[in-house]
């Protein structure tokens, strides 16, 4: 892993069209601005981890009784 030290206001360029800007450092947090093309997905890592965990849990539970859950859900739906 490449490790760089940057101060607030300094930038890092990645490839041709991604620029990471260290905007502000305060307390234990760093505020970062990222300029990148629209097709580049930028995510907080924990979002991806949550999605992955939910998928794994859902796959484990897919054997559960969906028919019963469906009836249960329909009963709770407000009347049209």
């Amino acid at each position: 892993m490449l490790v760089l030290t940057r101060k607030a206001g300094e930038k890092i360029k990645i490839g041709d069209n991604i620029v990471v800007n260290v905007l502000e450092i305060e307390g234990g947090g760093v505020k970062i601005g990222i300029d990148a093309p629209k097709e580049i997905t930028i995510l907080r890592m924990e979002i991806l981890e949550q999605i992955r965990n939910e998928n794994v849990q859902a796959a484990e539970k897919s054997g559960s009784d969906i028919r019963q859950a469906a009836e249960f859900f329909k009963k709770r739906l407000p009347e049209e």
Partner: protein, 145 residues
Amino acid sequence: MKINTRKFGEIKIDEKKILTMPEGLPGFSGFECFILIEDPETAPFCLFQSTQEPNLALIIMNPFLFKPDYKIDLEGFIVARSWQDVLIEDLLVYVVVNIIQGNSEKKITANLIGPLIINSKNNEAIQLAVSNSSYSHQHNILEHL
């Protein structure tokens, strides 16, 4: 063609309806082909079943049934994928559902930060990661009905 599923055993599917996940399914790398199994008896829940692995299936559902104001940036999503001639109406939105059978009460949660989007024009499915939203990955769907 015929595929094996844990839930329904061997079933016959229309090859033209196979959905591919070019970006993969988080948590299950290597599995790229899925089929949507809709059964009137389990509606509104459907199964997103791997055509490669019988044991890999996720329960998914239409989020608008329990959250009519659910919003994701589908226009930006289309632009980011450089899909030509694809309209918002061509996209189907589902969310992954977890049915938790407690001792006394059943809980059903939906992951609103990882919607599964199916492009009905090219049969691609992509699980989008939604950043910067107040949505939960464990939205209790019964509580908010």
